[in-house]
C-alpha cells in the first residue's frame, strides 16, 4: 500500500502532496490505488502527469541517446519534440525500425524530421492553410467530396436519442437510453449551465409509421422534446430515408432549436440502430463509439497530436462524452472520445449503446415535454431499397429456470469443438440442465465443427449483456470470471468452477474450485454423474500424468475468456 491513500483526499489536497514525491514507483502505487478505488479521471491525470514529469527528467539526463524502443508512442512524441537535429532524428527512426517498428511511432518521427528540415515555417500556420496550398500535388482535395461536410464554428447543444421501434412500439433499449440521457443531461446542466441560461435538453427522435404516441411515450421516459416523422413507407427501417431524415432534423431550425447540430447523439447497438448510427455520423461528418456500456460527460486533457495540432502540447477539451466499451478480451474497457480537430469539427459526438446496459426507467405520465412533428417530403430516390417481406424468428434459448447450468469459457480454446462436446455431455448427464457460454466465446474466432457451432451463439450468452441465471447448481468450466460474467450467475445456489489458474477471479465467487484442466476434469465428472460413482482408478491414472499436463496447459487455460 502506498503511503498516501488517494481516496482519503480530494484533488486539491493531492496536488501539493504529489509534488513532494520524487519516487516514480511510489507514484505508480498511488495511481493503482486510485484506479482500484474511486478512479477519478482528473486525479488519474494528475498522478500520471507527475509520473511523466519525473520520467521526463530522466530522459533529459540522457539527451542524445534517445532509445525509442523503451518509450510508448506518446512518450516518444514528447521526447522528440525537443530534438532539432535531423540526423539525430534519423538515428531514432532507424532504432525504431530495427526495434519495435511501430507504424505510429515511425510516422511521428518522420513528421518531426519533415518539420525540422522544412523551411522553418510555423506548423500552426501550416494547419491554417487551405488544402490547395498545403497539398499542391493533389488536384481534387478531399474536402470537396460531398460526404465531407463539417461545420465551421458550429453551435452544438442537447443530447439526441434515436428511439428505435419494432412493430410500432419503442423497444426497451430506447427507454433505457432515455433514462440514461436524462441522468447525463441533468448532471450536465448542474455542471455547465448557469441558472440564467436555458438548460440543455434530451431530445427523442422517432421515425416510422404512425409513431406519434411513441414520441409522447418518450417524454414519459425522460425526453424534453420528442420529434417524430410518420410515413407508411417507413413502417420498417430503411437505411437511406431514416438517415436522411435524422440528418435533416439534426440540421433543421425549430422553435426550440437554435443550434446547428446536436452536441451528443445516442443510438441502440441493435442491427438497425448501429447501422443508423454509422450512417448518420458519416452524413454529419463525425465519429462514434459502437457497443458502449458506460457513458459519462467530463472535461479531459489530451496530448494526441491530431487533436491538439502539431505545434501544440496538451489541450483541455470540455464537456466530452466519454464512451466506455468492453473490448474483445472482456477484461478491458476502452474509453473512446470523439473530439474536434484544429481544422475540422467532429460533432455530434456519437455512441451506440448495448441493450440492457442501463436501467429501464419507470415512465412518468406527469412529465411534460414538447412533441413535434417533423415536416418533410420523402425523396423517391431514398426508397431504392425496399422491404418485401418479414417474419419473426423463433424465440431463441431460455437458460433460466433450469436446475443446473453448465457454462463454458475460453478455457476451451485448445480444442474448442471438444470443449463444447464435453460441456454438452455433462449437461446431458443432468436431468434438468442447459448449457451457457461466456461473451468471450460468442466474440471469439474459434472454428467450431458443424454439430456444436449452434451452441456458440449469443442466445446462450450468460452475463451483463446476455442472460441472468440463478440455478441450484452452476458449473463454470474454463471461465476466469470477469465482472460482466459474474452478474449473470452469482445468485446461483452452488457454484463449482474448473480452471487451471488458481488465481482466476471466479474463485472469489465459487463454492468449489477445481484446480485442473477442463479437458481432464469434465470427462471424470461426466462418468461419475452418469454412473453415480467416481472411478478412482481413472483418477489415479490422471494423477500420474497430472503435474506435467497441468503445467503444459496452464498458459492456455490462464489466458481465458470473460
Amino acid at each position: 500500500m502506498p503511503e498516501i491513500d488517494p481516496s482519503d483526499h480530494d484533488i486539491a489536497e493531492l496536488g501539493p502532496k504529489l509534488r513532494e514525491i520524487e519516487d516514480v514507483e511510489e507514484l505508480e502505487a498511488i495511481l493503482d490505488a486510485e484506479r482500484e478505488g474511486e478512479d477519478r479521471s482528473n486525479v488519474v491525470t494528475l498522478i500520471e502527469d507527475r509520473i511523466e514529469k519525473l520520467s521526463g527528467d530522466d530522459e533529459d539526463e540522457e539527451a542524445g541517446e534517445l532509445d525509442p524502443t523503451e518509450l510508448s508512442v506518446a512518450e516518444l512524441g514528447n521526447a522528440i519534440r525537443d530534438v532539432e537535429d535531423a540526423a539525430e532524428l534519423e538515428a531514432v527512426l532507424e532504432a525504431e525500425e530495427a526495434g519495435e517498428d511501430r507504424s505510429s511511432a515511425k510516422s511521428l518521427i518522420e513528421k518531426r524530421i519533415d518539420s525540422v528540415r522544412g523551411s522553418g515555417e510555423d506548423e500552426d500556420d501550416e494547419a491554417a492553410l487551405p488544402p490547395e496550398e498545403k497539398h499542391p500535388e493533389l488536384d481534387h482535395p478531399t474536402a470537396d467530396k460531398k460526404h465531407v461536410r463539417a461545420l465551421e464554428d458550429g453551435v452544438y447543444e442537447d443530447m439526441w436519442v434515436y428511439c428505435e421501434t419494432q412493430r410500432g412500439q419503442l423497444i426497451d433499449v430506447s427507454k433505457e437510453m432515455l433514462g440514461k440521457a436524462r441522468e447525463l443531461m441533468d448532471g450536465y446542466n448542474d455542471e455547465y449551465v448557469d441558472a440564467e441560461e436555458d438548460e440543455e435538453k434530451v431530445v427523442a427522435i422517432v421515425i416510422g409509421d404512425d409513431v406519434e404516441e411513441q414520441a409522447e411515450l418518450a417524454i414519459e421516459y425522460g425526453a424534453d422534446v420528442a420529434v417524430h416523422y410518420d410515413d407508411d413507407r417507413l413502417d420498417r427501417f430503411r437505411h437511406k430515408p431514416y438517415t436522411e431524415l435524422f440528418a435533416e432534423m439534426a440540421r433543421a431550425e425549430y422553435d426550440w432549436k437554435e443550434y446547428d447540430e446536436p452536441r451528443y447523439v445516442l443510438f441502440p447497438a441493435t442491427n438497425n440502430g448501429r447501422d443508423l448510427s454509422a450512417l448518420v455520423q458519416a452524413e454529419l461528418d463525425s465519429g462514434l463509439a459502437s457497443d458502449c456500456s458506460g457513458l459519462y460527460i467530463d472535461d479531459t486533457i489530451i496530448s494526441n497530436p491530431a487533436k491538439v495540432g502539431r505545434g501544440g502540447d496538451k489541450k483541455e477539451f470540455q464537456r466530452v462524452l466519454h464512451m466506455k466499451r468492453p473490448d474483445f478480451s472482456g477484461f478491458e474497457y476502452s474509453t473512446i472520445l470523439c473530439l474536434d480537430n484544429p481544422g475540422r469539427e467532429f460533432h455530434p459526438q456519437g455512441a451506440s449503446v448495448i441493450p440492457g446496459s442501463f436501467e429501464l426507467p419507470d415512465p412518468d405520465s406527469q412529465r411534460e415535454g414538447e412533441v413535434v412533428r417533423h415536416e418533410s417530403d420523402l425523396d423517391e430516390d431514398w426508397l431504392r431499397a425496399s422491404v418485401t417481406d418479414y417474419d419473426q424468428l423463433e424465440g431463441g434459448v431460455d437458460l433460466t429456470g433450469n436446475e443446473v447450468v453448465v457454462a463454458l469459457g475460453r478455457g476451451i480454446g485448445d480444442d474448442p469443438t471438444r470443449g463444447m462436446e464435453l460441456g454438452l455431455e455433462l449437461t446431458d448427464a443432468f436431468g434438468d440442465a442447459d448449457m451457457g457460454i461466456t461473451r468471450g466465446i460468442v466474440t471469439s474466432s474459434y472454428q467450431f465443427e458443424g454439430h456444436v457451432e449452434q451452441y456458440a451463439k449469443e442466445e446462450r450468452q450468460i452475463g451483463e449483456t446476455g442472460q441472468v441465471v440463478e440455478p441450484d447448481l452452476y458449473i463454470a468450466a474454463g471461465i476466469s470470471g470477469a465482472i460482466q460474467h459474474k452478474v449473470g450467475m452469482d445468485e446461483s445456489d452452488t457454484i463449482v468452477s474448473i480452471n487451471t489458474d488458481a488465481d482466476a477471479d471466479i474463485r472469489d465467487f465459487s463454492d468449489y474450485f477445481v484446480e485442473g484442466d477442463l479437458f481432464e476434469v469434465l470427462p471424470s465428472l461426466i462418468d461419475a454423474v452418469e454412473s453415480g460413482e467416481l472411478d478412482a482408478a481413472a483418477l489415479a491414472g490422471d494423477a500420474d500424468t497430472g503435474p506435467a499436463d497441468a503445467e503444459a496447459s496452464t498458459p492456455a487455460g490462464g489466458e481465458d475468456d470473460d
Binding site: S72, P141, T142, V148, S277, F331, S334, T335, G431, D508
Partner: protein, 288 residues
C-alpha cells in the same frame, strides 16, 4: 458481374496475448496479422455470386504492405481475380470514418479503370479488433449506394439488375426480412451468412474455380495493384490519424469484483476431494 470484397487484416487473437502501447493503441507489430474472421462471410457471399452469376471478383484492403498476405489469403478463399491494396503511412491509425473515406475513394478510382465500377461491394460485419461494424456502411454512404446489411442469404437477378437478400433484425424480438435493391449496391454479410449451391453445375463451377485460383495465388503479386495517398488524390487531413474523429483515450482493466464466497479448493487427482464436488452434483443427475 463485377464484385469487390472489402477486407481487413486484424491481429490473430487465437495466438493469445495482444499488447497495447500506453496510448491504448494496439501494438500490431507484436501480433501476427490474419484476415478478419468475419470477412469470411463477405467473401462467401462474393464467391456465391461468382459461381452463380459468373464474372470477376476483386478484393480491396487498406493497410500496411504486410497486408499482402491477408489479400493472398482472401484470394484463395474467394477465388479472386485481382487484389487492391490502399497503402500509405498517411493512412495509418485511421478510425472507421477515415477508413471509409479512403475505401470509397479507392472504389471510385477503380471505377475509372477499364474494370469499371463494381456491381456489388461486399463487406463483413464487425472486425475482430475494432468491433464497430461501421466501415462497410460508411463506405456505402460515401459511394451513395443502396445497401443491404446483416445479410444471411442473397441472390442476384442480373436481368432485372437487382439484388434480393434476407437480413436479420434485432430488437425486443428477432426478425428476418427480405430486402430488394437495384444494382450497383453494397452487401454487408452477417456472421450467420450461408452460401447456397443447390445446383450440380454450381458445385462443378466451384471445383473449377478452386483449381484455377490455386495457380493464380502462387504469383498473386502479378494480380496486385497498390495505390498510395497521392495516387488516390486523397488529402492527408481526411485520412489516417489526422482524419479520424475518434481516439482511444484509455484502456482500463475492468475492476475486479470483491470476493463473495470462500471456495473449497479441489485437487482433481484426489478422489476424496472430487467426491465432495460430486456429492453436490449427484442430486441433479438423471440424463436420458
Amino acid at each position: 458481374m463485377y464484385s469487390l470484397v472489402l477486407t481487413k487484416g486484424v491481429p490473430d487473437f487465437r495466438e493469445g496475448q495482444v499488447s497495447f502501447d500506453e496510448e491504448g493503441h494496439l501494438e500490431r507489430g507484436e501480433t501476427p496479422t490474419v484476415m478478419n474472421p468475419n470477412d469470411e462471410f463477405a467473401l462467401e457471399a462474393a464467391l456465391q455470386t461468382k459461381v452463380r452469376n459468373g464474372g470477376t471478383v476483386g478484393v480491396m484492403s487498406m493497410g500496411p504492405p504486410g497486408y499482402e498476405d491477408v489479400l493472398r489469403e482472401a484470394m484463395e478463399t474467394v477465388y479472386a481475380d485481382e487484389l487492391f491494396l490502399l497503402s500509405d503511412r498517411e493512412m495509418a491509425a485511421a478510425d472507421t470514418w477515415a477508413t471509409a473515406i479512403t475505401l470509397a475513394t479507392g472504389i471510385e478510382k477503380l471505377a475509372e479503370t477499364d474494370r469499371g465500377a463494381p456491381d456489388l461491394v461486399f463487406a463483413g460485419f464487425k472486425t475482430a479488433d475494432g468491433e464497430t461494424g461501421h466501415t462497410g456502411l460508411q463506405t456505402a454512404w460515401g459511394l451513395d449506394r443502396p445497401m443491404i446489411t446483416h445479410v444471411i442469404a442473397m441472390e442476384v437477378d442480373e436481368d432485372e439488375g437487382r439484388v434480393r437478400a434476407k437480413r436479420l433484425v434485432e430488437g425486443d424480438v428477432e426478425e428476418i426480412e427480405t430486402v430488394e435493391a437495384p444494382l450497383p449496391a453494397v452487401i454487408v454479410a452477417d456472421p450467420e451468412f450461408e452460401p447456397s449451391y443447390r445446383r450440380a453445375d454450381h458445385r462443378l463451377t466451384l471445383k473449377d474455380l478452386q483449381a484455377e485460383t490455386a495457380e493464380r495465388a502462387e504469383d498473386y503479386e502479378e494480380h496486385l495493384t497498390t495505390w498510395s495517398q497521392q495516387e488516390l488524390n486523397l488529402d492527408p487531413d481526411y485520412i489516417g490519424l489526422d482524419g479520424s474523429p475518434t481516439i482511444v483515450e484509455s484502456v482500463d482493466p475492468i475492476p475486479k469484483a470483491p470476493a463473495e464466497r470462500e471456495a473449497t479448493m479441489i485437487d482433481p487427482a484426489e478422489p476424496d476431494q472430487l467426491g465432495e464436488v460430486l456429492e453436490t452434483m449427484q442430486p441433479y443427475a438423471g440424463g436420458d
